[in-house]
């Protein structure tokens, strides 16, 4: 079992559960399908030699952001979407057509991409070693890192201000 086969299986699972997410009418089940999809994506990240990003994907994306989605869905008690009577068929046809055309163009362009591109000389470091990544993050990208922390603070304050009830905390 090669790495490529494992990647294909994981990516296939991610795509399958993403389809389930889009098609399923109940939003809670939809979120859960997306959780599985993100987990499969984390597996693909590991196979692409990015274990730290895979861990962050599971901890932050699947484990915090989607839990937040679940909380909001449960607290707002959002019902399952009811299949509408045939209203607006032109909308559905046009958007389905646009999506299929876009997907076909994307996939046709990517199908042979990168097959002949010559990669630069490979680095000699072990991809599982996290120290070079940390060095890069805290030296070249230190400004972005600190700006990100301010962004998160702003998001925290903003979310709190938006979601609280009028007339006190």
């Amino acid at each position: 079992m090669t790495v490529r086969f494992a990647f294909d299986v994981a990516a296939g699972l991610a795509i399958l559960f993403a389809c389930v997410m889009v098609v399923h009418r109940h939003p809670v089940k939809s979120v859960l399908a997306l959780v599985v999809s993100f987990f499969a994506l984390a597996v693909t990240f590991v196979l692409l030699s990015a274990p730290l990003i895979a861990a962050i994907q599971v901890i932050v994306y699947a484990g915090a952001i989607l839990v937040l989605f679940l909380f909001v869905l449960m607290l707002l008690n959002v019902p399952a979407e009811v299949r509408q009577t045939p209203g607006r068929p032109i909308h559905h046809t046009l958007s389905a057509g646009a999506i299929v055309a876009f997907a076909a163009a994307l996939l046709a362009a990517f199908r042979s991409y990168g097959a002949t591109a010559a990669p630069p000389a490979p680095a000699a470091s072990d991809p599982a070693d996290l120290a070079p990544l940390a060095k890069l993050l805290f030296s070249d990208h230190l400004l972005s890192f600190e700006a990100l922390s301010i962004l998160l603070l702003a998001a925290l304050v903003g979310a709190f201000a938006l979601a609280r009830r009028e007339g006190g905390p």
């Binding site: 090669t2 790495v3 490529r4 990647f7 294909d8 990516a11 991610a14 795509i15 993403a18 389809c19 997410m21 889009v22 939003p27 939809s30 997306l34 999809s37 693909t44 990240f45 196979l47 692409l48 030699s49 730290l52 990003i53 962050i56 994907q57 932050v60 994306y61 952001i65 909001v72 869905l73 707002l76 959002v78 979407e81 559905h92 389905a96 997907a103 994307l106 996939l107 990517f110 199908r111 991409y113 990168g114 097959a115 591109a117 990669p119 630069p120 490979p122 991809p127 990544l133 993050l137 990208h141 972005s144 990100l148 962004l151 702003a154 998001a155 979310a159 938006l162 979601a163 009830r165």
Partner: protein
């Protein structure tokens, strides 16, 4: 070709497929939160593409970019969901077809 023997076209195909599925979800769902979920899927498809290139070109910068994208997506999800909660309190619905007035 990434160091692990995964051809770049495989990664990009997967990324493109996920992006198209996310686009379909964003266009075809009526629930505001489901549209937002499809948006998150699109962002992850972009992350996968960036990581594929980072792996194929032996660069760590791609992983740093994805790190920032994930953190920014977290901030965006928090604020977006707070907006939906505030909206729901006023209009009692999150069906985007029904929220069509600029001022109520």
């Amino acid at each position: 070709m990434t160091p692990n023997g995964i051809p770049l076209s495989d990664v990009l195909l997967a990324s493109g497929a996920l992006f198209s599925i996310g686009l379909a979800g964003a266009l075809l769902r009526r629930n505001a939160i489901s549209i937002f979920l499809a948006l998150e899927l699109m962002m992850n498809a972009a992350n996968l593409a960036i990581l594929g290139y980072a792996s194929a070109l032996h660069s760590l910068e791609g992983q740093i970019v994805v790190f920032f994208v994930i953190a920014i997506a977290a901030a965006e999800a928090a604020v977006g969901l707070a907006i939906f909660v505030a909206l729901f309190r006023h209009t009692e619905t999150i069906d985007v077809n029904k929220i069509n007035l600029l001022k109520w």
